[in-house]
């Protein structure tokens, strides 16, 4: 295949293209712009998608199953079962982990309260957050100075706190919070750790989406339960399980759901939120934009294709004699068809490459102007290229067919 006619056709097409450079550029302009616009469009949505993926990762990862308390609609007087339901508790988390210890690689507990927080420098009514398990890791926090709570701290409801950077700035404006004492409600707590500042700007011009996360004042859940939200059942507001394995996640979600229902007196007063599944679903809905970009690329490819057919038909007129000569010396119509197709497809291939380069340029300009780092999925390259190839092929068919149907006699005589 590559030694004979095919090789010759490609070579001839290449010569033909180079000899008629202006015409070739004009012909491939539609393809170039079409590919560039498809790739440009797709790269914008790729970049946005990548950015939101980064956001979720920075929020503690996608491999999380969040469990929240949710209200149960009640009509009339509550039933005995409803009365007896204790809601989401620390025990639920422990039992959940116990279901499949190999799948669960981390648990986080959260119990919120409000309290008056005082230091020598400030006195404010603040949210305080009781945290347990691997809360910091699962929520994307990192310890900057000092230490995290130990399991022992949490078991014993140690009177200690970890602060976010904003909280440090408010309560200890000259820095150096570790080792100092805060008064939270009526309880003296010692600051044992300070968290790293968290910053995430979706676009470079946006505000910090994580600003409120730096306000955190974290205490052990047990301390909050004992001193602020008197609760002997160790209720929690939220728990989260980290499950690395996607298959295990589905199974675990199901198991946890029935476990919780059983523990909660048959009340479904909780909501399970598989973060990874939610994000994947959101992103597949984002594909609507891909379709729109694809469509605009379609339209420019169709426009380019029509221009291409016109130019091709016009050049066919110039080349009728050449076709006649080839036919006279024995080229069958099929061979002429193949020669014209090869030329058009080579043009499309080269034009598409140029389009990809220009498309990357487009994308760089656009993503720079909206302030999102550029990311182009390899799939986008492939689909932009494939789309152009399909259009190039379809629009090449008519002129090639026309050429192949010429009568050798008339073609030779054509002036």
């Amino acid at each position: 295949m590559f030694d004979g006619a095919f090789r010759e056709r490609v070579l001839n097409s290449w010569v033909e293209m180079r000899e008629n450079l202006t015409r070739s550029v004009l012909q491939s302009l539609g393809v170039i712009l079409g590919v560039a616009s498809v790739l440009g469009g797709m790269s914008i949505s790729d970049s946005m998608r990548k950015r939101s993926m980064e956001l979720y990762v920075r929020m503690g990862g996608l491999d999380k199953l969040n469990v929240r308390q949710s209200a149960v609609v009640r009509e009339g007087a509550p039933t005995a079962l409803q009365m007896a339901n204790l809601g989401l508790r620390t025990a639920d988390a422990a039992e959940g982990e116990g279901m499949d210890t190999s799948a669960v690689s981390g648990i986080s507990l959260r119990k919120d309260a409000r309290a008056r927080v005082r230091s020598p420098y400030a006195d404010q009514e603040r949210e305080i957050r009781g945290i347990g398990g691997d809360f910091l890791a699962l929520d994307g926090y990192e310890v900057d100075q000092g230490r995290d709570f130990s399991a022992h701290d949490i078991d014993t409801a140690a009177p200690i706190a970890i602060l976010g950077t904003e909280a440090v700035a408010v309560f200890f404006p000259n820095g150096d919070a570790v080792g100092r004492t805060l008064r939270i409600g009526d309880t003296q707590v010692q600051v044992v750790g300070v968290l790293k500042e968290r910053v995430f700007r979706f676009r470079s011009s946006n505000g910090n989406m994580f600003r409120w996360r730096n306000r955190i004042i974290a205490l052990p859940t047990t301390l909050v339960a004992r001193r602020f939200e008197g609760d002997q059942y160790h209720r929690v507001d939220r728990m989260a399980f980290r499950i690395r394995n996607l298959d295990a996640m589905a199974k675990f979600t199901k198991g946890l759901s029935s476990l919780l229902k059983a523990n909660h007196r048959q009340q479904v007063d909780f909501r399970l939120d598989d973060v990874g599944a939610r994000v994947r679903k959101q992103q597949s809905q984002g594909n609507v934009y891909d379709v729109i970009f694809m469509l605009s690329g379609f339209l420019s490819l169709i426009g380019g294709g029509i221009v291409n057919v016109n130019i091709q038909m016009a050049t066919l007129k110039e080349r009728i004699r050449e076709v006649g000569v080839k036919m006279a010396i024995g080229a069958p119509g099929r061979e002429v068809f193949k020669e014209f197709m090869t030329e058009a497809l080579l043009l499309t291939a080269v034009g598409s490459l140029a389009g990809l380069v220009i498309g990357v340029g487009f994308s760089k300009i656009i993503t720079a102007s909206i302030g999102v780092p550029l990311h182009i999925d390899p799939k986008s390259f492939v689909s932009a290229y494939a789309l152009a190839a399909v259009f190039g092929f379809v629009f090449a068919l008519f002129p090639a067919w026309k050429a192949s149907r010429l009568s050798p006699m008339e073609a030779l005589r054509y002036e």
Partner: protein
């Protein structure tokens, strides 16, 4: 041994009924292997039409045509293309070389369509260029050649697949008399080597070089004479 060309009652009619033009009105022609024939006649006589049919570029309206023993009047376009490739070598007045391909690639073209391998193509093309006397021009483009040299390339190309029949349509029409004469000498040489040649011309001095003249007039063979 069958003749190279054997036609009976060839007619060619263009248009239909009212406006029909009868280009050929019944040609019976037999040409034996190794003959050198001049097809002469004034313009409009039908000699170009006859040449097109003999060259399998066109089909007759009626009549039979056997080329090298094979009936061709009912063949499909694809089969005719194969016959042109295999059995006929064309030489045109305007050379009709591909301007963007080098001389050697022009000569290779019929072999390419015949599916001859690359190495053999190159070798045979080079031999043919030697035979027509311009082996040193293999790599140049046709535009760099004189008219006589271009016609030599065209002859080399026509000979590429060792055709049964060489068909030349006014091969000297675009050349001055000196180079024209040289090209005719080339044809005479080829004839001596055993090729069957038909030259279409309106120039009687050229026709005189052939063994046999066939004059077409109004779509019929008017006079046939052998030298």
């Amino acid at each position: 041994m069958h003749p190279i060309i054997d036609t009976h009652g060839l007619t060619k009619t263009y248009g239909s009924n009212g406006a029909a033009v009868h280009a050929l009105r019944g040609i019976d022609l037999t040409i034996e292997r190794g003959e050198f024939v001049a097809l002469i006649g004034p313009s409009g006589s039908g000699k170009s039409t006859l040449m097109a049919i003999l060259g399998c570029l066109d089909k007759p309206t009626e009549g039979t045509y056997a080329l090298d023993g094979e009936r061709v009047e009912g063949l499909s376009g694809r089969e005719l293309a194969q016959i042109r490739n295999d059995k006929i070598g064309f030489v045109f007045q305007q050379y009709n070389l591909l301007p963007k391909a080098s001389v050697v690639r022009n000569v290779e073209l019929p072999m390419l369509y015949a599916g001859v391998g690359r190495r053999e193509r190159r070798q045979r093309a080079q031999e043919l260029l030697e035979r027509v006397g311009i082996p040193e021009k293999a790599k140049v483009l046709p535009a760099a050649l004189s008219g006589g040299q271009r016609q030599r390339v065209a002859v080399a190309r026509a000979l590429a697949n060792r055709p049964a029949l060489l068909l030349a349509d006014e091969p000297t029409g675009a050349l001055d008399s000196k180079t024209g004469h040289e090209v005719l000498e080339l044809f005479a040489d080829l004839h001596r080597q055993g090729n069957t040649i038909i030259i279409v011309t309106h120039d009687l001095s050229i026709a005189a070089m052939a063994q046999r003249q066939v004059e077409i007039h109004d779509g019929l063979i008017k006079i046939e004479e052998a030298a």
